[in-house]
């Protein structure tokens, strides 16, 4: 009997180890869904002639979940493609959205780009993302996902975004000091 109980406990623990990925899946799926609407309600000049609307990320798990979530979705009659880039510093010119799942990758991106604005929607979740020049930052409030948005930075980058998105988000202005 003891052996059986130990076995059940071991199985439970082993399966639970994977569980953190389970919840992130839902969170990533929600974020991917919101990115789709950001794209739908914005007007970007970048890569108008690409066949697909491309969302790039260096997070494999985000790419996996977002691909499932955005399957068959279209932006201006283009299929939405979620692309994995090992390094966001390379091959990023075709990206319409870049999702930075950690602070480090965004800092490197900005340094490489020398803070020059480009018409790519930059979305992240690091605490100082907006202050560091990002466009939209996901936040958690009351068990839900909300977002901060920087219309000033979007304008500098030549991205027009619907007032509906701005209204639903929380406007944050970059602290230039």
């Amino acid at each position: 009997m003891t052996y059986r109980v130990i076995l059940i406990i071991l199985l439970t623990v082993c399966t639970s180890l994977e569980a953190s990925a389970q919840t992130s899946q839902r969170e990533y799926a929600l974020k991917a869904g919101l990115m789709y609407y950001f794209a739908l309600y914005s007007n970007q000049t970048t890569n108008q002639n690409t066949n697909n609307y491309i969302i790039c990320s260096s997070s494999k798990s985000f790419v996996e979940i977002a691909t499932q979530t955005l399957l068959q979705k279209k932006i201006e009659q283009r299929d939405v493609e979620v692309r994995y880039l090992q390094s966001l510093l390379e091959n990023n010119t075709s990206c319409h959205i870049i999702f930075f799942s950690d602070e480090k990758s965004y800092t490197q991106y900005q340094t490489t780009l020398n803070n020059k604005p480009r018409s790519t929607l930059l979305i992240g979740e690091a605490s100082n993302f907006i202050n560091a020049g990002g466009h939209i930052k996901f936040i958690h409030i009351g068990g839900k996902i909300r977002f901060e948005i920087n219309p000033e930075q979007l304008e500098i980058s030549g991205i027009k975004i619907s007032s509906k998105v701005i209204r639903l988000g929380k406007v944050k202005v970059r602290n230039k000091s």
Partner: protein
Amino acid sequence: MKKTLIMSLFFISHLSFANDEIKDLDFESLLAADVQVTSVMKRTNKASTTPASVYVISNTQMLNAGVTSVAQALTLAPGVQVRKIDNNKWAIGIRNAAGRYTSRLLVMIDGQSIYNPSFAGVYWEALNIPIYDIERIEVVKGQGGLLWGSNATNGVVNIITKLSNDTRSTKVTLKTGTTLDYDVSLRVGDDLNIGENSSYRFYINSQANNKSDKSIRWAPQDKGEKDSFGARFDLAFNDDTSLLIQGDYTDIKMGQTLELAHPITFAGAEVVEPQKRKHTLLMLRIENRLSNIANQSLQTSYAKQKGDQPYYMEEFTSYDIDYQINMQLNFAQLDLGANYSYNKTPFLESDYLNSENDVNRIKKYGTFAQASFALIENELDLILGEKFEHNSLTGWEQQPSIRLAWRPDNSHFLWASFSKGVRTPSLLEYDYNIQTNGFKVEAIFKTGHELIDNTRIKTFLRGNNQLQSEKVASTELGYRISHNTWNADLSVFYSEAKNTLSITPIANPLLVPTVIALLQSADILGFSQYIQNQTVDFNLNSDGKQKTYGGDFILNWQLNPSSNMTFGISYAKQEEYLAQNKLLDFNGETKQVFFALNKKINEEHNIMFQSRWEDGSIYKTDNFIAVDINWNWQYNSQLTFSLTGNNLLEKDHVEYARTNDTFDVATYIGRSVSLGMMVDF
């Protein structure tokens, strides 16, 4: 050993249904979705993948329909029985006849119960939350006892208000009309300088109704006023911990016509005195994400209701603590919780009411556990749960539930459930004696002398502290089908309740022989004096049984990108049996056919049409068709006008005529028109 291993492996599978739903959600719904699929917030998940009969009324629907109260908003949910008694009072029920004091329906605001244990009901007229600040109203038809506790045997209504982060603006609304005298509200919201993402809102709301043109008896007096103010604070300390503080205060004064026993003749007599109530709600909830797989919440709440009626004065206070922890493991999603509730119910005597045992406090405490297993990945889920709860009136009760959810593919969803729930007696049933209209002598024996036969004897409805909780066992089945432009939802149910209320009339055994002797000696004066001092008691018992069965069908169809329609048909039948007598007449059928059409003409204009046909037999009224139309005109980004017509098809009709159940004299609900304006700053 082999069997144990197989069982263990059987449950090792990813929980299904959680993420697939997201791809179909619109922008607002994504923002409304919880990050973790748990019941920590006592919210349901997406209605289409919940193994229960759930209908969600969205904020957009409420604004499109131009409703001015939560009770009226419930008319937007097909299958919900919503009846106006007069221009202020409502009788609302699910899967049985609506009642002003129905206790089979649990109503909550953001998870805080507003149930009143004295009269076992909800004072809908004292709910005055601005409609634009309600995120959604979830209507769960059927048993909700496992998660929400006792008195949810027929359903749960959960009013979920918006995060204050989503209302960080100033809004003013004004509305006036033929029945609605005025409805004025102001909300102010902004960021708070506490933490990274904290915010607040304050609101103040004042509403008044005109009185009806006529009532079923005597002159209508239902002119009413209600004033409220409240605030909500959402403090986010970091991504993992947040604190919600909210409070509301409502003061109502509503005219009414009551039929109460005359102090001398004991016959039903007109009493015209307003109802005055003061309601206070306070709630504090801390939510904490322990890890990616677990979160917990602790909610404490305080409610005070002070009521002043000719037949009933009350001052009820409740303190509640509720803790929940939710874990999403690979083999199961676990929800565990514990609750404690302390209710102070001091008895305040009136001309019509006295207390048998002076029960002035009710304590409740309990615990629940629920586990959801994926038996077949992405296809078949099993949800098991049990709630144990002790209350100081009837002791320990348990409310188990087992549910199965099967999704053979993305279009079809089938579910089945078996659950048991409990309805605890109200203090009216358990402890109070209430004077009702006097019993006629002819009901005991007929003399043939009209004056004597119509003489009434003082009559009391007597509570009984030996009452047991009503125990309801329900079996439910449901099927949903979803396609690109339409979805349909069918649910059927069968419930058997035991320990339902019955009545035993008890009179002095010498009453009849004494009356006969007095009449034979032609001593009319002696008869009159004797009968004046006699009483007939209707003693309440819990020895009845009731079965209820029926079903709902709802079709939603997106006709084109700008138009969508909802069609619903619902039926329920309740049959009381094995009761000692049929004096409590709850038998009958409820039938409803529902149709709604919303047309967004362009970015500025939206028209919503809604109609309900309802059978009136169980309410002792004619059948009626209610037709409502609302037109919203968004003049610019700040200004929206609305024109609303209610009950447009009929000049007027009575919706609830069971005066004996409530003492309220119903009025004719007339056609009405109102004009509104909403300004966003």
